[in-house]
């Protein structure tokens, strides 16, 4: 049988299925007979003992450097061994004659509710840990073993509803041949992880988990977006061949990573790097790129209880600036809210977070937070070539307000006689249609801009990029996207100011030639896309890109545009 899916990370795999399912406890209302009470207590004790052994095993398996992960596991052990809950669970079994599962569920639910109502966000977060621990004991009660992607005895194709960061963080990259999930689009967490691990991934396969059994052989074609179950021997042979060809082409493509990014007719293109952690492997991309087009700074704020200090930020910004020398490093100021939450800030829950107080809006309403980051950035800017960029700009007011804060920070530093960079460029992300449509006005206020195509698409098509139900409405190749980008490119070209594209479209093999045709000469992407983009550039002339760009704007639908680009670029791809 053949099924369709969204190929978000290219590749081919033939292999055995591992169904990765989260345990969901089933508990029926019931009371015990007197002679069942003691066995129920023992059942509880054994389940708790099993859960404890699992947690201790996980904790001990984290080596040096896993301190943060160890802390989380220790917190889970604290909850599991909690004296007050232990006493209440025993009372519920003895006094209320409840089976172990019901007693555990009842007591945990009570505290999860109570802690979930805490005023402090950090305390509320612990309710999530309690739910995890509760599921762990109940799973032990049911005698179901823990599934983990961290320890896999043999190579598998993972089938799941969705994968969470907690699943992928410890995933054994060498044993996962491919990933197939029921939900998720190209900008989902699973997609980003799969691409950076170079694991073929097919997302959005309806009912994927119900289509297969553990251990059966399937074919995943994450080039053409196909899942084949119960393949014939002939199909297996054909796909083994296709896989070898793909691997050969991928190896071939890798050779392009070190070349100068120049088109076939000699036009130099800036191919820049997107970074999000400043880790050593990430910074290795420095060797192959002409700068950093997007330095996401959120990682500094995530997974911690306190805000990062000015000094902490300063050290990391300097590290990146030093690595890139005189090449530009485009630092995007804090971009949280929407899909990204912080433990170290108590942010109110919003009904429409993507339309809410996020990114620059949040920074303008939390001036101290904003100023700390700007101080660190301006100070770090005494070395290297720093560009500062504001996300989520919708109007000239936003630009002026942000620049006003920068001015205030400069004033503070002057008064305190603290040195800072004097030639730092100030720019914006273009990701809200309202700013794209006044690019002619915005360009006068900034030194540069960068188009964030993921959010621009979400706001242009009015489709929440994290909601799988509306995924078909989120259309990167929508003619409106191309027209908006064309207009912005034209205005920045007229003004002679740099314009970059740093969203998924920058590294997309079909869209990138169009961007070039619009006159964009600066694109930024994850390291995984660099080699292929350089390869395509080396085979493309500017004249041909311009022709593509003109034709694509005339396509009627996103599907038409994709089909057109695929056929027009067939000889290059």
């Amino acid at each position: 049988m053949e099924y369709q899916g969204n190929p978000v990370s290219e590749g081919i795999a033939v292999g055995k299925v591992l169904r990765y399912e989260r345990f969901t406890p089933k508990i029926e209302e019931k009371t015990l007979r007197p002679e069942e009470v003691e066995p129920a207590v023992r059942h509880y004790e054994e389940a708790r003992g099993g859960a404890k052994a699992e947690l201790e095993h996980i904790r001990d398996s984290f080596g040096a450097g896993g301190e943060d992960k160890k802390k989380i596991i220790t917190a889970h052990l604290d909850i599991l061994m909690d004296v007050a809950m232990d006493e209440e669970i025993r009372q519920a079994i003895h006094g209320k004659m409840l089976p172990a599962e019901n007693a555990i569920q009842k007591v945990y639910s009570k505290y999860i509710r109570r802690i979930g109502k805490a005023k402090d966000a950090l305390i509320r977060e612990r309710a999530t840990d309690m739910k995890d621990v509760c599921t762990r004991i109940l799973r032990n009660c049911a005698g179901v073993r823990e599934q983990s992607l961290a320890v896999l005895p043999q190579p598998v194709i993972v089938f799941a509803d969705d994968l969470f960061p907690s699943d992928t963080a410890s995933l054994d990259r060498s044993k996962v041949l491919a990933i197939v999930t029921e939900v998720g689009g190209p900008t989902s967490h699973t997609a980003i992880i799969a691409r950076s691990y170079e694991i073929p991934a097919l997302l959005g396969v309806a009912d994927a988990l119900r289509l297969v059994a553990d251990g059966e052989r399937v074919i995943v074609d994450a080039v053409d977006g196909r899942l084949i179950t119960q393949p014939t021997e002939e199909q297996v042979r054909a796909y083994e061949k296709k896989r070898a060809e793909f691997a050969k082409k991928a190896a071939e493509t890798k050779k392009y990573i070190g070349i100068e990014p120049v088109t076939a007719d000699g036009e130099k293109i800036e191919v820049e790097l997107n970074i999000g952690s400043a880790s050593v492997p990430e910074l290795q991309g420095s060797k192959y790129t002409t700068g950093v087009g997007l330095f996401r700074t959120e990682f500094l704020y995530m997974g911690r209880d306190t805000l990062p200090t000015e000094e902490e930020q300063y050290d990391i910004y300097r590290k990146v600036l030093t690595e890139f020398g005189d090449r530009p490093v485009t630092l995007r100021t804090l971009d949280i809210g929407g899909d990204k939450k912080l433990d170290c800030m108590d942010l109110p829950k919003e009904d429409n977070p993507f339309l809410g107080n996020r990114a620059l809006r949040l920074c303008l309403s939390h001036r101290d937070l904003f100023k700390t980051q700007l101080r660190a950035a301006l100070r770090a800017g005494t070395i290297g070539n720093l560009w500062i960029m504001f996300p989520m700009v919708g109007s000239l007011d936003d630009i002026r307000n942000a620049k006003q804060v920068v001015q205030e920070v400069r004033g503070d530093l002057d008064r305190e006689h603290i040195p800072y960079g004097k030639n730092i460029k100030i720019g914006i992300m273009i990701e809200i249609p309202s700013i794209a449509m006044i690019a002619d006005l915005a360009v006068k206020e900034v030194d540069f801009a960068s188009i964030g195509t993921n959010d621009l698409c979400q706001y242009t098509t009015a489709a929440d990029r994290l909601n799988p139900t509306v995924a078909p409405y989120y259309q990167s190749y929508h003619p409106a996207m191309f027209r908006l980008i064309r207009y912005v490119a034209q205005e920045f070209k007229k003004a002679g100011k740099p314009l970059c594209v740093c969203g998924e479209m920058g590294g997309d093999k079909l869209a990138m030639p169009v961007l070039l045709g619009f006159g964009i000469r600066r694109i930024s992407m994850g390291l995984a896309s660099v080699a292929n983009v350089k390869r395509i550039l080396s085979r493309l002339t500017v004249a041909r890109a311009e022709e593509l760009a003109e034709n694509v704007c005339r396509q009627e639908t996103a599907a038409d545009a994709a089909a057109y680009l695929k056929s027009a670029l067939a000889d290059i791809l």
Binding site: T74, I79, D82
Partner: protein, 91 residues
């Protein structure tokens, strides 16, 4: 029975990590130890050895709490826990 009053001083209050440190220390004593918000309801008495009890109190910076212990090592228990709170948990 022995008790003392102390003010929470660290900026983030008695949340995740400080709460873990607090119960870990409390667990080292044999006495029965209670932590309660000053002037709070008796029903809100939290077992100082229970992470979920301590978190349920949701103690923030500036709040006054009473720590009360009953047992052989009651004085040492209360004094140690008060010292820990006064140390601001290293924040």
């Amino acid at each position: 029975m022995y008790k003392k009053t102390v003010t929470i001083q660290n900026a983030t209050g008695l949340h995740a990590r400080p709460a873990s440190d607090f119960i870990a220390l409390a667990a080292k004593f044999k006495s029965y130890i209670v932590i309660r918000r000053k002037g709070g309801d008796e029903d809100d008495d939290a077992n100082a050895k229970s992470i979920v009890n301590v978190l349920s109190l949701g103690l923030a910076q500036g709040e006054e709490v009473e720590i009360e212990a009953t047992g052989d090592d009651e004085k040492k228990a209360v004094d140690s826990l008060v010292d820990l709170i006064n140390s601001k948990f290293g924040e």
